[in-house]
């Protein structure tokens, strides 16, 4: 018996599915559970504050140190040095100092609190699709899957795209996986502990503004504290001057050490911006001419001015992870509304982007995959997990079309390793290098070109809409019940057991 299905199946299949059926099969208590926001089930190692508005790395100790240093030094400056300087020289000094201080603080907070450009992890469907394509590319040659890379030619340079085992995506060019935050970040520059966050595409300009203004502030304070001491020592001698304003000594010391590092860093990043490189690329020497005569940076616009404009004044892309959206865990019957797009403008999130409930499903799929030890379920587990991991446990264990056995079987040897891969990666969380995933099972480099879709065997008809796409406004009722997670896992296991007998 089908819900909301009429006789005229030939046309407008799609609008059939868009009927919003009330699902009495859902247990009533689920509707009363409070809605959870997506940040609460974010798979990376980030910390969120203010209900998802603020996003930082896990280790924030050094960030607080930065804050304390800046606040304390500026506080001392305004309290002990500025009165004297305002009287003796000009009151503009504290004003400029104040403006600089506010700018530094603003850009620091903006860098630390914003999303650096995290790439959301692949939905189970996508991951399964990619895995399938890669497996077909490998064929059944050997049981050890070679490292997964894809080559692409950008502006005449060959760039290798690496597959991220944690996020299950091919990383876009210039993206990198941060091992501290456990996220892939677009245009990854570096992870800055002083700022307590990664520096990536979305907050690089704030970071640059921060270090630039901090350089000016440090030099400013240093210069004027020295001026203050000199002026005082004209009146009462050098030692007395130091005794009269001991704070100045502390400030001089802090500023002296900061100036070298901060100004140096600003200079370095100015160079990076003008050549349109990331710290990552510079350290690895990706585009240095030492690698080869024809090696050049394909992303550079050619002239310094354009590069600077692009980095600092270019359009600011929105956050791809929808932190404040609500987790929509709807049943497949709750198929998308007629527009097929989730409410771009209608969500309650500030960002108004409904990234698919990847975090939710990713969490849930990781375990079912591990549970499957049998190779036959290698591919299937990835997909069924998504269906069973969805909160609608009524999902199709009895799909009319049984999985096509041949393609799955041919990929056994390769697929065999897949659950283990995910197992290692979901549970180990150890990334030896921030930028590479050294995988124990990797073979030496083999280049894969992707097979055209024709060569990929047709997928088994097993992809129900586990990954919720539809987010019709009325379906905000929280079908996701954290309390029933365990029962969902049980169902997943039962479901998988059932499948293996198919």
């Amino acid at each position: 018996m089908h819900l909301g299905v009429s006789e005229s199946m030939r046309e407008c299949e799609y609008s059939q599915i868009s009927t919003r059926s009330s699902t009495p099969m859902e247990t009533p208590y689920k509707k009363k559970t409070p809605k959870r926001r997506k940040w609460e089930s974010f798979p990376g190692r980030n910390k969120f504050y203010c209900d998802g508005r603020i996003m930082m790395a896990k280790q924030t100790g050094v960030f607080y140190l930065t804050l304390v240093l800046i606040l304390a030094t500026c506080g001392l400056f305004f309290t002990f040095d500025c009165p004297f300087l305002a009287l003796q020289l000009t009151p503009i000094i504290p004003v400029i100092g104040g403006v600089l201080f506010l700018f530094v603080l603003g850009s620091l907070l903006r860098t630390s609190f914003s999303d650096p450009g995290v790439l959301p992890r692949a939905t189970p469907d996508e991951a399964a699709d990619l895995e399938r394509q890669i497996d077909v590319a490998n064929g059944s040659t050997g049981y050890r899957p070679p490292p997964r890379t894809k080559e692409v030619v950008i502006n005449g340079q060959t760039v290798k795209l690496k597959y991220c085992f944690t996020c299950k995506i091919f990383r876009p060019p210039r993206a990198s996986h941060c091992s501290l935050c456990d996220n892939c970040v677009e245009r990854f520059d570096h992870h800055c502990p002083w700022v307590g966050n990664c520096v990536g595409r979305r907050n690089y300009r704030f970071f640059y503004m921060f270090i630039l203004s901090l350089s000016f502030l440090t030099i400013f304070i240093f210069a004027f504290v020295i001026t203050h001491i000199i002026l005082r020592s004209h009146h009462s001698g050098f030692l007395n001057a130091l005794k009269d304003s001991p704070a100045s000594v502390l400030e001089v010391v802090v500023c002296f050490f900061s100036v070298w590092s901060i100004v140096g860093l600003s200079g370095f990043h100015t160079y990076l911006i003008s050549s349109n490189q990331t710290t990552n690329e510079d350290i690895k020497g990706s585009w240095s001419s030492k690698r080869g005569k024809d090696n050049y940076n394909p992303y550079s616009y050619g002239n310094i001015f354009t590069n600077c404009c692009a980095a600092l004044c270019g359009p600011l892309p929105p956050s791809l992870i929808d932190r404040r959206g609500f987790i929509q865990s709807d049943a497949p019957q709750m198929a998308p509304p007629t527009n097929g797009i989730t409410m771009y403008g209608a969500t309650q999130s500030q960002q108004s982007h409904m990234a698919a409930t990847t975090p939710l499903l990713q969490q849930q799929t990781s375990e079912p995959v591990i549970l499957t030890a049998s190779p036959e379920n290698g591919i299937l587990s990835g997909r069924t997990a998504l269906s069973l991991g969805g909160p609608c446990t009524s999902l199709p264990l009895g799909q009319p079309t049984p999985p096509t056995s041949t393609p799955s079987l041919s990929c056994h040897e390769v697929v065999d390793m897949l659950p283990i891969h995910t197992h290692t990666h979901s549970h180990a969380h150890t990334h030896p290098h921030p930028h590479n995933h050294t995988h124990p099972l990797q073979d030496p480099m083999a280049h894969h070109h992707f097979l055209t879709p024709e060569e990929v065997p047709s997928p088994p008809g097993m992809l129900p809409c586990g990954s919720p796409m539809g987010h019709s406004p009325t379906v905000q009722a929280g079908f996701y019940n954290p309390a029933s997670q365990d029962s969902l896992h049980e169902d997943s296991v039962r479901g998988l057991v059932k499948l293996s007998s198919v």
Binding site: M1, H2, L3, M9, E11, C12, E13, Y14, S15, Q16, I17, R110, L119, P120, A122, T123, D125, E126, D129, V152, V153, I154, N155, I169, P173, E186, R187, P298, Y299, T306, C309, L312, C313, G314, L316, P317, P318, P332, A335, P336, T338, N339, G340, I341, Y344, H353, A355, T358, S394, L395, P396, P400, T401, T452, P453, P459, L463, P464, C465, M469
Partner: protein
């Protein structure tokens, strides 16, 4: 256990990185869709999407002015107005909705806005053609 709705499979149109980090999608029609939709039509859709994304990320005078203004107002200006990128994303959402209504839905297909997949893929859901299975 109720039998499921008519979703047969999903196809993913991957990103095309040949022009760099700009958001562009591959225009090649996947084999699973060949039976369902015309190649020209599909390529047209993807090309329009690519153009829209290029517009969003363009380094024009408008984005430059917006960036400078934002910097001067300490980014508080975005409390009142949307960024250029967000405006274009809304346009894209509307475009996809239109395409779904006019072209893809009658053929049993559904395009998902790439922003919901982190701008990684265009997800095309293929619905089962029950008229054949019954």
């Amino acid at each position: 256990m109720r039998p499921q709705a008519a979703i047969a499979s999903k196809v993913f149109i991957q990103r095309d990185y040949t022009s760099g980090t700009m958001c562009q999608f591959q225009t090649k029609l996947p084999s699973e869709l060949e039976a369902r939709i015309d190649k020209q039509q599909f390529e047209e859709t993807v090309r329009t999407l690519n153009n829209l994304y290029a517009e969003a990320e363009k380094l024009g005078s408008q984005s430059f002015i917006e960036g400078c203004l934002a910097c001067l107002t300490a980014y508080t200006v975005f409390l009142c107005m949307e960024t250029h990128y967000e405006k274009v994303l809304k346009k894209i959402a509307k475009f996809i909705q239109e395409q779904n209504d006019k072209i893809y839905a009658p053929r049993g297909l559904l395009l998902t806005d790439p922003i919901e997949r982190g701008l990684r893929v265009i997800e095309v859901t293929i619905f089962e053609d029950r008229s054949l299975t019954r």
